[in-house]
């Protein structure tokens, strides 16, 4: 099963993400703090990582550089005109449509040998 982590400091966004995607199709874990997420990634690397950019203690770039570069990171951000130092696999703009995330998950599910 595809192991997906989602990091966002907004509780409501995490709740919504769970409602949509924690349906037994994937193995989903969510985090509200960057530090916790980084630790979890190190302990048990996911197949796919969704992160927010703007968070109180660290931003998306800093988190991405702190993580094993082989892990694909998708940025879900409310920013506009933001330039990133890290080359994210994909950037999804908030407010996003559920299918945008769904398509990416499916894409990686297909890549992963069953």
């Amino acid at each position: 099963m595809l192991k997906v982590y989602y990091l966002d400091d907004e509780e409501l966004l995490i709740d919504m993400f769970i409602d949509y995607f924690d349906t037994g199709q994937i193995d989903l874990k969510t985090f509200q703090s960057p530090e916790e997420a980084i630790k979890a990634v190190k302990d048990s690397p996911p197949d796919l990582l969704f992160i927010d950019f703007q968070m109180p203690t660290m931003n998306g770039d800093q988190i991405a550089f702190a993580i094993d570069e082989r892990i694909p990171i998708i940025l879900i951000t409310g920013d506009i005109d933001q330039k990133y130092q890290y080359e994210f696999k994909k950037v999804i703009r908030k407010p996003y449509q559920v299918h945008e995330v769904q398509e990416i998950i499916e894409e990686y599910q297909n890549k992963k040998p069953l």
């Binding site: 966004l13 709740d15 703007q54 407010p95």
Partner: protein
């Protein structure tokens, strides 16, 4: 037959005996002295005498008794009304008898007139310059004052004409007119400039009068003069000052005015007529109503109220109002007024009026320009904030739009359904709040509104705008707010100041390793103090005094307007506060001090 003389004469006749009693007086005696004949005969005549004259009279009587036949002298007799009459006596004692025969004339009026003439002459001599000439104008007599003022001795003057003191200042016609007047038998008066023996000039007010002989021919002339030199010099100095003042007023475009409170009549200086473009008519003074009509309709009532309050209660005023000249020109003037009292009553009010059109219009233009700059600055800060705002809005928006798709899924689970609805509603409220703040911030505040408010909310709102920028730059906020008191302020302007200072602080830590901004707010000695300090390298000494100057910026082109701090300082000062920059250690610290609203 001789008795008729005794009864009819206007002189006083009397016969006295050697005991010193009148034994006979004629009726004139009673008429002149007011006593009846019986009264006069009832006591010694010495008792009617003025006490000072008793001794003198005794001496005369002594001489008579020693055989001198006639003696003339004067003494004063008491009148019934308590006054004294001056009597001029001729006394005789016939060789054969003991009785004394005396004749007197009442000379009281003559002596009085003589004394008066003498006093006038004395006064004239002491205070005026007097000269007499013959019919040809040759000086025959001068007093000491003449010799003093002219510098010539009496000997030098007598026998000469007045040409000796001629200054040459008057044309020939002047003297011709003078001579024509006095030759025709009239008096002439006027101011003449004369020359002192040493060469300097003096001015005399002269009255020249002809003298006539018994046939009515002009015998000579009398001139009475008064020294006017000091007055003329003073008047000259005054005129000079007045002219300078007038000229100065004209250059400064300041006019003067005075109003008679009782009549409403106005007195204007020339410049006032000029400023208000009113034609000056001789002998015609403008009235208050006319003066008031020279202001625009809007300003008329303001001026009228001020003038009336000044005239009635003595309240002084100064106003900047729009005037409308007699020719219809509308322009700005400064005008003031104050009450002038006499014996505790307001008699007149007076003041000035000044054309300040150029200055006022420049001021208004500057104000508009400043307003525009403020607005531009706000737009610039808005631009800077827009990224943060987008972020703030996009998060809750995602919740709303995303949750809509979930509602259908939970329609049979009321608890979950309610939970989703509340998440949506909460998110909507967040968006609403941001938008409201934004509206408040970008409001064009032509009229600023100061209300009593607690700065905590304003500081928190400002920080919410900047939190995104801070997070983006990984800047930590250290906030410590301990204020309970309120300050009188315009919320939006205050927010602008905090946004500006916080934004600057974030920029200034971009290059340093340790990035933090501290905000401390507390109360001290009647003020609220807010200190915003950052971990940046501080501001170099050579530019620390320039940071509040408009258009001064250290930021790259397009990054800063250079107006933020100058406008922030302006706003804080407009609130009666201070915005200071200091260093705490190596770090820059901006301190806002605002008075607590009690």
């Amino acid at each position: 037959m001789y008795e008729k003389f005794f009864h009819l004469s206007r002189d006083l006749f009397c016969v006295a005996n050697s005991e010193g009693y009148f034994i006979e007086v004629n009726p004139t005696f009673s008429r002149v002295l007011g006593h009846t004949k019986e009264e006069l005969l009832s006591k010694p005549f010495m008792e009617f005498l003025h006490p000072e004259d008793i001794q003198k009279t005794k001496v005369v009587l002594q001489s008579l008794s020693e055989g001198q036949d006639t003696i003339e002298f004067e003494n004063r007799y008491l009148h019934k009304d308590g006054t004294y009459r001056v009597l001029s006596w001729s006394c005789a004692t016939p060789k054969d008898g003991e009785n004394m025969y005396a004749l007197a004339r009442d000379v009281t009026e003559i002596r009085y007139t003589q004394r008066k003439v003498f006093q006038i002459e004395q006064a004239l001599n002491n205070h005026s310059i007097i000269a007499m000439t013959d019919a040809k104008g040759v000086i025959t007599e001068v007093n000491d004052k003449f010799t003093e003022i002219s510098g010539y001795s009496r000997e030098e003057l007598i026998g000469k004409t007045h040409k000796i003191v001629n200054s040459g200042a008057h044309p020939k016609e002047f003297f011709k007119n003078m001579w024509d007047t006095i030759n025709s038998g009239k008096s002439w008066s006027g101011i003449i400039q004369n020359r002192h023996k040493m060469g300097h000039y003096y001015f005399v007010y002269s009255i020249l009068s002809p003298f006539f002989d018994n046939q009515g021919n002009i015998e000579g002339y009398l001139s009475v003069r008064v020294d006017m030199t000091d007055y003329i010099n003073l008047k000259f100095a005054y005129e000079k000052t007045y002219n300078i003042l007038n000229e100065t007023s004209s250059i400064a475009k300041v006019g003067g005015w005075e109003m008679d409170v009782a009549t409403g009549e106005l007195n204007w200086t020339d410049e006032t007529f000029k400023i208000l473009e009113v034609e000056k008519k001789k002998g015609q003074k403008p009235m208050l109503s006319e003066g008031l009509s020279l202001f625009t309709d809007e300003c008329k009532s303001i001026v009228e109220k001020a003038v009336l309050e000044c005239a009635e209660q003595g309240t002084p005023y100064s106003l900047e109002v729009e005037a409308k000249s007699a020719k219809g020109k509308v322009f700005w003037v400064y005008t003031n007024g104050k009450a002038n009292y006499k014996d505790g009553k307001i008699l007149t009010i007076s003041g000035t009026i000044q054309d300040i059109d150029m200055r006022k219009k420049a001021e208004i233009a500057l104000e508009k320009e400043q307003m525009k700059t403020m607005q531009n600055l706000k737009l610039a800060s808005l631009g800077e904030m827009s990224a943060g705002i987008a972020h703030e809005i996009n998060n809750p928006l995602t919740v709303v739009s995303g949750t809509i798709g979930l509602l259908d899924r939970f329609k049979d689970d009321p608890e979950k359904f309610q939970e989703k609805l509340s998440a949506m509603s909460k998110s909507c409220q967040r968006i609403e709040k941001i938008v409201r703040n934004l509206q408040k911030f970008s409001r064009s505040s032509e009229t600023t509104e100061k209300t009593s408010c607690n700065l905590v909310q304003i500081i928190e709102d400002s920080m919410s705008f900047m939190i995104f920028k801070a997070q983006k730059g990984s800047v930590e906020f250290k906030v410590n707010i301990e204020i309970k008191a309120k300050v009188l302020c315009d919320e939006v302007e205050m927010e602008q100041v905090f946004v500006n200072l916080l934004s600057n602080a974030i920029d200034s830590v971009s290059e340093v390793e340790e990035k933090w901004i501290s905000l401390d707010a507390y109360e001290k000695e009647g003020n609220v103090i807010i200190k915003i300090k950052d971990s940046g390298p501080g501001i170099p000494d050579e530019i620390i005094n320039k940071v509040f100057e408009p258009f001064y910026t250290t930021k790259a082109i397009g990054k800063g307007t250079g107006l933020g701090l100058s406008i922030s300082k302006g706003i804080i000062e407009d609130h009666g506060g201070e915005l200071l920059i200091t260093h705490e250690g190596p770090h820059a610290c901006f301190t806002i001090k605002l008075p607590i609203n009690k």
